[in-house]
Amino acid sequence: MKTERLKTDILIIGGGTAGCFAALTVARKSPQTRVIIAEKANIRRSGCLAAGVNALNAYITKGKTPEYYVDYAVRDAHGIADRKLLLTMSEQLNEVTAELERLGLVILKDENGEYVSRGDRNIKINGENIKPILSDAVQNLPNVTVINRLNIIDYITNGNRVIGAYGNRTDDEALVFISAGATIIATGGAAGIYKPNHPGFSRHKMWYCPFNTGAGYAMGIRAGAEMTTFEMRFIALRCKDTIAPTGTLAQGVGARQVNSLGEVYEDKYGLTTSQRIWGTTAENKAGRGPCCLATKGITSEQAEDLERAYLNMAPSQTLRWVAQKKSADKENVEIEGTEPYIVGGHTASGYFVDVNRKTTLESLFAAGDVAGGCPQKYVTGALAEGKIAALSAVESLDGAEAADISDEFVSVARAEAEGFLKNRGGITPDELEEHMQEVMDRYAGGIGSDYAFTDESLDIAREKIEELILRVSGAVCRDMREFTRLHEVKERLTVCLTLIAHLKARKETRWHCFAENRSYPDKDDENFLKFVNSRYESGEIKILYRPLEEMNV
């Protein structure tokens, strides 16, 4: 197996929303600083923005303040969020939006040239090409090198310091080792840890990007970084089957959640993100399903505008309307909850970071869905964190050349990779994935268990995931693509163990569905208005409870 060694000042792992904006920020602030972006696919459409987005959901609209956004996010998280992280993000939202517009994003304006808002925090855009816009901006930067199809497997560390990372490149089947003065992790969250809505052919027809498989979380866990709030899982409320967004219907044309009796039920359960899922789950369980968003009665022009809007972000929904010769004005849209994801752009799961987005590991910064403590980021919040992390990373460079990676490290890593690639028998990565999703669904609160779990079921989940981890080294691995898929399962298994430990440590039910703990069905403010954090130490996941106002390091 070929090996290649590279050196850079700043390594950005993941060329999605946060990663691209981090590169852009470094190039502006410090043009002589060399940057490498390591991207698993190709930055042109990779990450969450592939299909486009319909609106920018985090924006400080006219008359509102960053503090208003902070209050909203803390309330929606039922108290578990870091106000300082939220404020530093919120203060950047409008500036990064203006930057996106300068780069070419179309944003709807009124006759006075002001952005048109959709509710209190959102603005309307045409976001179909948002990722190509970001990617074009990055490709033109002289000191930024993009390496596409490079799947980063792990950090290279020296004690508590991250000195680079390495991974496999599909194009030429090489192992690439990159040493860096500072590293920004921007790999996104984790999809595919639970059995999806449709486990068959359409198993990847999911809300979150199925190619975000928790690599950044797993690398951090293995290296002993402190992680926060994994137990606050995210479950999206989506259009049935196509798993297309529902916000466009709820906020765009004012459609409300109704049960099969035609009753509006959303007021009964509350309107925080977790309560909206809970209401739908509870109504179905009580025999009052299916639940729908009541679009019937909107005008035919509105229905046509919806068809166009979905083509800009979730084209399958429009295809479904056309194929079934139906439209939103004539028929309500059935909704369902997705499988749970771990995603710090919506909830507070991820690396425990300070306001500079520095992790508890030296020279490692985190931005976007991989960074914890700061929910409700959406696209603009991820850009904001990319910017903050980039400025901190530049600041942290001491002018010295990045450390050399030892020959011994390279040869051990190569031997390990070659060992995997020799396996012709054994369990396949697909079978491992299916097993893992089945275990998590049944014992750790997936769709099949109405998102609920108990102390006992979590113990079973842990035991079974530990068994699966032992089977990874013997799994079949016939080529470089299968090598990547095997690592995608391996990293999710690591995430599963940390997730299970977190679910177990929060002995209350603060968020219905997100963490529906049947052993402790009530909210317990007296004991659990605090962060559940964890650190992997000598083979054990150690739980640390942190007060809400405490910053790390």
Binding site: A41, R44, K124, H204, P210, T242, A309, L311, P315
Partner: protein, 103 residues
């Protein structure tokens, strides 16, 4: 939810390879091909890139898909989404990229 690539229409330009967020498309002797159709997310990026109508987008049978599929033709700032069923072309929806979504 996935795509089909028609080898007869593919001119081997390779543009679709560079836009797949899952790196699922590779170049074969006869043209580009999707390696594992069940791994497709359904983002439609490859359709929008193909100027030769070689890529079709369909819904999986497991989520109620039938023979209906769509393709995209790009024309300046406009994307024409063309829908077909077994009887032929059924509808076209045009989205102007220079105007914002209403919702």
């Amino acid at each position: 939810m996935s795509i089909r690539i028609d080898a007869k229409k593919c001119v081997r330009c390779g543009k679709c390879l560079d836009v797949c967020p899952g790196d699922l498309i590779s170049m074969g002797i006869d043209g580009s091909r999707i390696l594992r159709p069940e791994d497709c997310w359904g983002c439609a990026s490859c359709l929008k890139e193909c100027a030769f109508g070689a890529i079709s987008f369909f819904l999986g049978k497991d989520i109620g898909g039938d023979d209906t599929y769509m393709q995209v033709k790009k024309d300046g700032r406009c994307l024409h989404w063309i829908f077909y069923d077994s009887s032929g072309q059924v509808r076209t929806i045009t989205v102007d990229q220079s105007s914002s979504n209403k919702y």
